[in-house]
């Protein structure tokens, strides 16, 4: 079977610094992979490489057997940044419709087929209840679901979600994760999900890709999120502490590397 994503000996240099050093990972179709690591570890950079937006300095990344390159229609992408449309009444539906066939030429005149697709991703991402409200007045969680709907256009086989939980409260984090797991079940999409904190994704993800110090480790939660494995990645003494089903990752010299939920 062809891997959904195959990263072999991939290195990335940005401005003279090596961000990622010969990392390797294989992701099977239909897997839900949580990507973690400290700020600036290269999570977003890896996503950009998979999208073909950042070049590898060596190695290879392929998506369903095809080398990483721009405009790959097999990939759906939910970027970390959001555009503020303060002062406009553009609806959530318009935001999704504007992305649908947005890489084509001419006037944004949508065929029936395209309109149906917009409706279906709006339904799938849970945008329907507020689809006709202005995007600018939606809550953070609702805006993220609009981003999810945009990413789902074109029926992607691999979904790259870059920090979708950022700046959401725990309840909205849970709602979004529920929505994403539902999408995974109904569409059988492979999902790569970057996040700061392991805890919200416990029980949802199949495996973990942890990036730190330019290196990466992929495996089950119990293989990767351990004191030994993370100490090796960080090249310093790291303690993984489990309390009441939550995981804390702490540097031995002090300082929580990943904070847990506060609910």
């Amino acid at each position: 079977m062809i891997a959904a994503l195959s990263i072999s000996d991939a290195s990335v240099r940005l401005g003279g610094n090596e961000i990622l050093h010969t990392i390797n990972a294989e992701v099977a179709p239909g897997e839900f992979i949580g990507i973690f690591g400290p700020n600036g570890a290269g999570k977003s950079t890896l996503i950009r490489c998979i999208l073909g937006l950042a070049p590898l300095s060596s190695g290879r990344i392929s998506v369903f057997g095809v080398g990483a390159g721009r405009a790959n229609r097999m990939i759906g992408y939910m970027p970390q940044s959001r555009v503020s449309l303060e002062g406009t009444a553009l609806s959530a539906r318009s935001m999704v419709a504007g992305v649908a066939a947005g890489d084509g030429w001419g006037l944004p005149w949508h065929s029936r087929k395209l309109k149906e697709e917009v409706d279906s991703v709006i339904e799938l991402a849970g945008v329907a209840p507020f689809a006709d409200r202005p995007f600018a007045v939606l809550s953070g969680g609702e805006k993220q679901r609009v981003g999810l709907a945009q990413a789902l256009l074109g029926k992607p086989r691999l979904l790259l979600l870059d920090e979708p939980l950022a700046s959401l409260d725990p309840r909205n984090q849970m709602l979004l994760i529920d929505r994403i797991t539902q999408i995974k079940k109904t569409t059988d999409t492979t999902i790569l999900f970057t996040a700061h904190d392991v805890n919200p994704l416990l029980g949802v993800m199949d495996r973990v890709l942890y990036i730190a110090g330019g290196a990466a480790a992929i495996g089950s939660l119990d293989e990767v999120i351990t004191s030994a494995a993370l100490s090796q990645l960080y090249k310093t003494d790291i303690r993984v502490i489990r309390v009441e089903g939550n995981i804390f990752i702490i540097a031995a010299e002090g300082g929580v590397i990943e904070t847990a939920r506060h609910d």
Partner: protein
């Protein structure tokens, strides 16, 4: 009242003003909609002011003010497009281009002594002074700009509302920003023929800003923007005929009043804003 209108419309200069005003209004309204969703209002403002250099330079080099403004604005727009494809970088780049252009414009004004009298026409507009030849030029430029805008409109909308995803889908953000800035330069130059350089904002931002706050789709938004712009320009020109006050004054006042009304409506009645 009707007889009075008929009388105004029998004058060639009024008809010319209405035609030129309509062309500039339609282009400004549609381009303005993109200015609003792309948040490049500062660039629009700067490009109009940069046109001043072109107009003063034109007198010095013996070409028409419209040509001079077009050359300088389009060059400046292209430079801005190249310098800052990402919006957040643009402000400094635009500020630098704007200041050096105004500096050069001041020099031109000094070098060409006889020019000062015409400066006010360029700054505040002289819609009743447009010649048939100018209307011809304005029509061609409007049609060309709208044509290019239509070809790129899908990509422009995509790149404006979700730039990172657009880039991932193979849309070139820098290319789009370059093309859009050139179209914007042409639009503000044409709009300045109607309301003057200082008041370009009123035609390029006004109608689109009002429409974007009320309408939830791209089509309804741009259509409303065009309707508002045409209504403001026509009533402004006719009110100017009746009162002998400048059309630029009437157009800006009408649009400002409308903006206030819509602002109150959005805040207190529709509650579409937080």
């Amino acid at each position: 009242m009707i007889d009075q209108l008929k009388e105004f419309l029998s004058y060639d200069f009024v008809r010319s003003a209405l035609i030129a005003g309509s062309l500039a209004a339609v282009l400004g309204a549609i381009v303005g909609y993109f200015v609003v969703i792309r948040k490049v209002g500062f660039a629009a403002h700067a490009l109009a002011h940069i046109g001043f250099t072109g107009a003063t330079g034109a007198a010095l080099f013996g070409i028409s003010p419209l040509q001079g403004m077009l050359i300088v604005s389009v060059l400046a727009g292209a430079t801005m497009g190249v310098m800052g494809s990402r919006l957040h970088r643009s402000e400094i780049a635009i500020g630098m281009v704007l200041s050096v252009c105004l500096g050069v414009g001041t020099l031109f004004l000094t070098l060409y002594n006889g020019f000062a009298g015409q400066a006010s026409a360029i700054l505040f507009g002289n819609i009743f002074g447009v010649s048939p030849q100018q209307i011809h030029q304005i029509a061609l430029l409007s049609a060309g700009s709208l044509g290019v805008l239509f070809i790129f409109s899908r990509k422009l909308i995509f790149a404006s509302i979700q730039p990172d995803l657009a880039e991932a889908r193979g849309v070139s953000l820098s290319q789009l920003s370059f093309i859009f800035m050139i179209i914007l330069a042409v639009s503000v130059t044409l709009a300045s023929q109607v309301v003057g350089i200082l008041l370009v904002f009123t035609l390029v931002i006004g109608p689109a800003g009002i429409a974007a706050r009320l309408f939830r789709g791209f089509w309804s938004g741009t259509t409303a923007s065009v309707v508002i712009a045409l209504a403001a320009v026509w009533s402004g020109i006719l009110l100017a005929c009746m009162t002998n006050w400048p059309p630029s004054f009437w157009i800006t006042v009408i649009l400002f009043a409308l903006y206030l009304l819509v602002d109150l409506l959005c805040r207190f009645v529709l509650r579409t804003e937080r």
